[in-house]
């Protein structure tokens, strides 16, 4: 029952986006999140749209996966659109329902917000769909390196992330095993009233906690035995390579910013 959960969202494929350095992707997504707010008219929104859809097309990620990523936020988007629809009182009235009026400004604003959210989600999920979690970790560690000066434990943070990633499948297997063992003793995890169901998870969670503690202890010992002593003086096997395509990616982000500034009203 648990085996069909795909770890992370990574979809292996051979595309330009997949081959890019995680750092350039992270920076690009970061920039995109900021500049989405620059768009304020049809022209600038179309520009963002073309950029997003173009990137998605280059990534070779099946369209169905992208849609799946959008599904959970659909209701939030709808809610925001409706909110704007009724709350904005600009422009001529399009529809008078008696208890509320819908203005043209509201409709435009609602649609813009919806697009903005869709673009944001689409591009950020493209990041996780085309980059393995461990690559994202490496990229983050590298980008955040300057923060070490401010005593932010960048290396420890990255190590923690990578160890968690490594143990997710192990803990999933373990969860399944304990669930089965408790089911064999008559525990019910999927039926009954909600309070009862929450209570039913105690026999699952406590053994999981205990084993996670034991694993952490063993792991710390094994790491120490293999000469782990923090991030200082450490070399890395994983190599991040900044290539032409990465510089080009940042360059095109720059072009996008300039274009947005020009086209916005």
């Amino acid at each position: 029952m648990m085996q069909n959960v795909i770890i992370g969202q990574y979809i292996p494929a051979d595309s330009l986006i997949h081959r890019m350095d995680p750092r350039s992707k992270l920076i690009a997504v970061f920039i995109f999140v900021l500049i989405v707010f620059l768009a304020n008219n049809w022209l600038s929104y179309s520009l963002l749209g073309i950029f997003t859809i173009g990137t998605a097309a280059i990534s070779k990620v099946p369209f169905s996966y992208l849609l799946k990523g959008l599904k959970p936020i659909f209701w939030i988007v709808l809610f925001t659109v409706i909110l704007h629809l009724f709350m904005t009182k600009e422009g001529p009235v399009l529809l008078d329902l008696g208890w509320a009026k819908i203005h043209e400004g509201g409709l435009v604003k609602g649609v813009f917000i919806a697009f903005r959210l869709f673009f944001l989600i689409l591009l950020t999920s493209l990041l996780t769909l085309t980059t393995t979690p461990i690559d994202i970790t490496d990229g983050l560690e590298n980008l955040l390196a300057p923060l070490k000066r401010l005593k932010f434990p960048v290396h420890e943070f990255a190590l923690m992330m990578s160890i968690s990633l490594r143990f997710i499948p192990t803990l999933m297997q373990e969860t399944e095993k304990i669930m089965k063992a408790q089911s064999a003793r008559g525990a019910e995890f999927s039926s009954g009233p909600i309070q009862q169901r929450i209570k039913a998870f105690v026999p699952l969670l406590i053994p999981l906690f205990i084993s996670a503690f034991k694993r952490a202890e063993d792991l710390a010992l094994a790491m120490e035995a293999r000469g782990y002593r923090g991030g200082e003086g450490r070399t890395k096997l994983r190599l991040l390579q900044w290539k032409m395509r990465d510089s080009f990616c940042l360059f095109s982000m720059g072009v996008l910013i300039v274009a947005l500034v020009i086209f916005r009203s």
């Binding site: 064999a184 003793r185 026999p203 053994p207």
Partner: protein, 288 residues
Amino acid sequence: MELSTEQVSHLYNKGTPMERRALYDVSIKIPSGSFYAIIGHTGSGKSTLIQHLNGLLKPTSGSVYAGETTIRSDEKAKRLRDVRKRVGMVFQYPEHQLFEETIEKDICFGPRNFGASEQKAKRKAKETLQLVGLNEEFLQRSPFELSGGQMRRVAIAGVLAMEPDVLILDEPTAGLDPSGQKEMMELFATLREQKKITIILVTHSMEDAARYAEQIVVMARGSIYMQGKPAEIFQQKEKLHEIGLDVPEAIQFIKALEKQFNIKLPKAFTVEEVVEVVRSILKVGTTP
């Protein structure tokens, strides 16, 4: 209670890219009160098979019969509960499933889930704890202060307290030291004597299979590879070698003796039996 499977196949992750077939048309019949051993390598389908026998897994195709209950792929969960109560399952490293503050509470978990009154559950806890060789004083202690072997006994008591008709044991001696392993196996043999329950033992130890089981099922690649009495199974050394399994040392040894002394010797599975055989050929006056 009799357990049987008819043409049972099982697919994990059906309909996903990770689909994997773990069982192919397995038909097996385990009569009430018998002692079965299932042997085979990791990944041979042993664990998948036993999880069908108590309704933790449902067959992708085929049927499982547990007493009067039939389990098919479209079975409702309600009826599986009854099967789970009557077919107790001790997983590998069962001590990992302990979670309560006291041993008593932990043992009561199973019986209470299956509707026993608190009083009855407590009585059962006391009884089964003794059965697994721990005295009453342990009842109010935390299971987490015990040694590994003791914790395992408590976990087994937790299953026994449900009063199952069948006890399935998935490598119950894994990770114990040799004396602990021996004690554990003796415990099951005694339980069977006293309680007359069916025992199904999944094991990597050919010695245990030969010594304790009446019937051995050898699994390989998701199918039943061989089935029969220990003596029959372990006679076919080559066939076992083909799938990388060995015959018990006692049998190997008797074979080697027969060859060296050029005589026919009786079967022996345990050290004691082997010693008897050896004595018979060492006795002065007998001619080889």
